[in-house]
Symmetry: D2
Subunit: 406 residues, 4 copies
């Protein structure tokens, strides 16, 4: 009888390397290692060799950087989707794509199960399993770290296990930080960060410099958008991957994009997270300013409530859901006129606005001006004010009466 | 027969000085000048004398600084009310109070009308008149600047009129800026600011320094909140007026609180505004971070939609309306546990977070930790994920079927 | 020099007949009468002759019934858009289409102005003029009934004017009601209806019978929807015009679709309106029930907030606005699986549900059942409840502490 | 060593009777039976005797009808809280009160655990356990029906177990329906109801008559509200319990208050439920109509979004949560002027409106009228329309440009 085949989400790091071996041992299965590349994986060069050396029967490395930025990050950008008005969701946006890559490979390779290395108290297990169940309900999902048999209590125990089984793990200088990185940003957790009253140690940050050490001269960059998506920096057209990488570099140099957040996790607790996302934060800032110029008031207001729901949806693992599709339809319609340029100034950790313009700007200098070129109909105000204030006047005085004050 | 009596909202500046005289002339009325002091009025010292010298029969100067901060600004702060997620609404919050002071004085003095110096295309005319009509429907409202007879086309014409009528106007160095200032912030408009692609000239700013010239060393301050309202800075309890003034000073020194905004005016147009509000922006930042620690997720989410509506309500002149009262009831209930301290770091134009703590914190280190002191029930996740993902799985696959993909 | 040409929204009734003549007289202009047919206009047969006899140079009658139902009413139906959860907006949906027909004809005929017969306190003037200004900013808009020269104080004065000028008005039995009717419904206003404590007189209703006199036997009809739009009744496919007409007949017979509403008008006042819309209300009822079966929970919830905004937008005259386009994109995406049938029972004024089914139903009998065919994972509940309740438990107890109760 | 003591939510029916015995057997514990009376429990008369005969050491019957209606149902009524715009939530509102009674009694009697008889796929287990965990985190919660040892597969097996253990169960005519009833309404489930295409059998309904058999003459009743809460019917002041009971009787007679609903359960599935709630539905209808008269437009709109969230919160078991408190503060503020009377007509299954009036009505006949007593400022409309339509005009034409159509 054929062995069971399990496709494993494999990063090349200690956890997933140990997991590959552990699955072979505990499930008597053939393991297929699947690595989705969405940027910033330091182990990528040798990941395939490592997987095979660890015991995987096959190993796939799939470049999904462009799909990640264009089809996951840019839609969230167009939505202005920041979780709890703060977090650009690098990890949350990456997870559904990595899960999709995994289940697609699993199906192609005839696997009956997929496995991931998420713990039992984080958001990623939810994102991973919801996507897997949605896209491939026929596949079993295995979460070894939630298995009572897992048993590793520390990094040291995992290293010992790796050495015992000849797993090729490069044990570098022990970092106290648990890091998840992709092109859209970096998430950092660790013991020292668990007290919300303690600022993050400076060595926690991976891709941004300390604002105090940043250049003493501001740097102004111009970002061009077409229908809500960024297409050029300083006049040079760049594909999505190159564009975000370029902004990560310049933003990181000026110390922008650091986020220190107490957030509501999906699994019912508050957690404290440190994020770095210089490129994503510059783009969110610029996109929002361009919308101020090009979206009319009722559209902007309603889109704001879409932004919030969109962020919750993504954060909560519901990327593949009908509501996200419907939101994207709404958003794409609103973005038809969100084209133009935004000049932003980076300086010592801050992003400031230096100008914005659009061929579809709704700002009309002749209506807005206080100079003699004014074309606004001043006499209209009187009638407007009368009707505008009528309901409040009526209601306020009825309230006074109800409260016995009149 | 007794002359008509008009109460005029009087600032001591050129516009309202000319207006006092103009009203006497065109309405054959007795004018009573009413100046509400809500902070930062540079003309305040001599305003009473000026009013009388200009022709007013009586002049009242009413100190409302404490009422302004405690009863208008702090409720908006507790609401997180930033107009279009950006503007702390110094002018918008001041207007209803100034209008209230004016109509109360008008009633007390037996006036039959009130007059204001707002133009016909701004928000302030709406705020002023809606409040006057709401609180005192029996009073007529006069808006000379919307009167076809007003006729002044420039500052020079107003100065000539003033000199002709012996109005004591100190004609200082001609500033190109039109400025409205109070303790909660400053609004700046002018011709040069009307092109959204042009950054504000550095001399436009009144109370904040240029971030590039700000101190090279960050300054960390600790703000204490009690039930959502700030009560102390760096451990020193301060009354609302002193507290905001202190933060304006320290914030202004570090160049924080500058806002460059294309916003949707109530009267149907987009305008470009420059604001400075170092104290208000520091407080908004700190308050929001404290709420991340102390508000549960559903409350935080819903309160976010209240914030947006509250800001629109205030901006749109509807301070005295039943919905604002109901919002305040909602907000005050949520603020019962928003007590604690927030440490913020000011540096070269940016506000950053250095720590937050509360006796009513909902962050539980033992639930959040990845160390061995973890008390989170990991095995609960599996059941949670199953039920959480069930609707998306069902709906996604029904959609595929509806789209003919399954 | 050529005379000015004015295109007039002409219904054939007394008001607009008098208006045609009045415009010729007061503007020394050529008048072109434009009648859009969106159903239920009793004067339609002779409207062209009348217009010419009244003095119009040209008269156009344009059949827009299908466009009205398919492109205006059905989108609102798919949106579940009922103004203030009650009014299906027959008049509000018709106005933008009638205004569009008018300005299109005006442009084609080289007119420089359009005119309408709306009064100065209703919603229709707003809808009409906003659409005209949006679609053809170059055209002047004339509203004779707001003109101080209009001067008619009663129906009798208008009749006298008509007779004096030889305007062919059929003066039927004087109805005390002011009625606006189209295929989607009827709006009724009159003096007797102005007291909200008085029920409408029975002769006020135009197309629905009294529920007490309705048939003693219920009638069950089956409505089929395809992607949110109704396509068949009782198994017979019908085009939009025939379908709505058929439901108006059957619904009217059973006395369903009467609405007695105190509503918030756009111009700042509450008004009391009587509506009849048997077909529209049956369709809204059935569509909503089908959505309960086919939309997932988060989509249904968010779409509910779209419904409210959509209704306000339409009611407020903003049909031609970017937000409506974006809403339609959202809604159409959600409707892809809203196909199926709904059985409704009409009886003595009420609409009840007799069954619903869809090939894309999200209801899964095997998950829902309490019988032995149950496939729901009961053990998942424990973990779900634990995590679900964790935040409320934490927050509630922090509140008790904050309130000094713990 | 003392035996463990378990407080059991006891109804006197078969399920909870069997459960009492089962707990004694499987936990070797003393059981205390707790019955909260919130109306309509047919077993109530003998419930105490039964509990003791079944083996409970103590039995408490606590009358909470008034608390239920006044403190749970009326707040939801003032909120207009209907789950999914349809279900008045009799069961959902009763559960937190019953759970509170249970844990209070448990604490008073020194119990270490509470137990309930809810199944593993319904909402009630969630409501029950979340409340217990919130109010008394120290108590263990036992859910025997989720216990793998429970094992009863049918009603017959439970009856056999009861007879074997001498449990006094009156085995009445086997009803195929599972029913939960209290004063605010009845919930009905059963196999035959599980197909959404099948109408409920007529014997499923417990407290409402068939509309076809209802009286041929309509009955008009007048309901008086004070600050949003109903206080009198037909001029007679009634306490909450008597008032709801009276409306259940009259409403049931006319066949109103039947609801046939496919709803989204909290545990991730859609279910089909039948409800009866004549009193609750009459009150919701009347309250909403009174609000149309007394709430201003922005308050009504925002309160609508509160209604939806409030209903979800209650349905989802989060009664004891900070957001509900904050909602109640908001709602109570809005209800200060929701006083007055509403006349409703009941006839053959439908509720219709016959009139409404309030001393704090915002409807002003002189503003609304089209007669000569009109006091509305018609000339204000022109200015209002100009400003109202300006943004849409600007935005629509920018969109045309962006879409290449201009």
């Amino acid at each position: 009888m054929a062995k069971e085949k399990i496709a494993v989400a494999y990063s090349g790091g200690l956890d997933t390397s140990v997991m590959v071996r552990w699955l072979i041992e505990h499930y008597d299965a053939d393991v297929i290692a699947v690595t989705g590349n969405i940027g910033e994986n330091k182990e990528l060069a040798s990941v395939k060799e490592k997987a095979l050396a660890t015991g995987a029967k096959k190993a796939f490395v799939i470049d999904a950087q462009k799909e990640f930025i264009a089809d996951y990050c840019y839609p969230a950008l167009k939505a202005n989707a920041l979780y709890e008005n703060a977090y650009p969701m690098a990890t949350a946006l990456g997870r559904p794509l990595l899960a999709k890559i995994l289940v697609e490979t699993a199906i192609q390779e005839g696997c009956t199960a997929v496995a991931h290395g998420c713990t039992g108290k984080g958001n990623d297990q939810v994102r991973f399993e919801v996507v897997a169940n949605t896209l491939a309900p026929q596949l079993k999902v295995i979460a070894p770290l939630r298995d009572p048999r897992w048993g590793f209590k520390s990094r040291e125990e995992e290293i010992a296990y790796a050495q015992k089984h000849g797993i090729p793990v490069i044990v570098t200088k022990k970092s106290p930080y648990s890091i998840d990185a992709n092109l859209w940003g970096v998430s950092i957790e660790c013991g020292a960060l668990e007290d919300p009253m303690t600022p993050p140690p400076s060595d926690a940050y991976q891709i941004t410099g300390d604002p105090q050490s940043a250049p003493d001269t501001p740097e102004t960059i111009t970002i061009e958008f077409d229908k809500g998506a960024p297409v050029a920096v300083n006049g040079t057209h760049l594909d999505p991957v190159a564009l975000v990488a370029a902004l990560n570099t310049v933003g990181g140099r000026h110390g922008v994009g650091r986020i220190d957040l107490v957030e509501n996790r999906l699994v019912g607790i508050k957690s404290r997270e440190i994020y770095e996302a210089p490129g994503a934060m510059i783009l969110h800032f610029a996109h929002r300013e361009l919308e101020r110029l090009t979206l009319d008031k009722p559209t902007a207001r309603f889109k704001d409530s879409v932004a919030r729901e969109y962020a919750d949806l993504v954060y909560n693992g519901l990327w593949f859901s009908p509501l996200r599709n419907a939101f994207d339809a709404f958003i794409d319609e609103t973005q038809k006129s969100v084209s133009g340029i935004v000049k932003v100034q980076l300086f010592k950790g801050s992003i400031a606005l230096n100008g914005r313009s659009s061929p579809f700007s709704l700002y009309n200098e002749n209506l807005a001006t206080y100079t003699t070129s004014d074309t606004f109909n001043h006499s209209a105000a009187e009638g407007f004010i009368h009707i505008w204030g009528l309901p409040a006047k009526t209601a306020w005085n009825a309230q006074l009466k109800a409260n016995g004050k009149k």
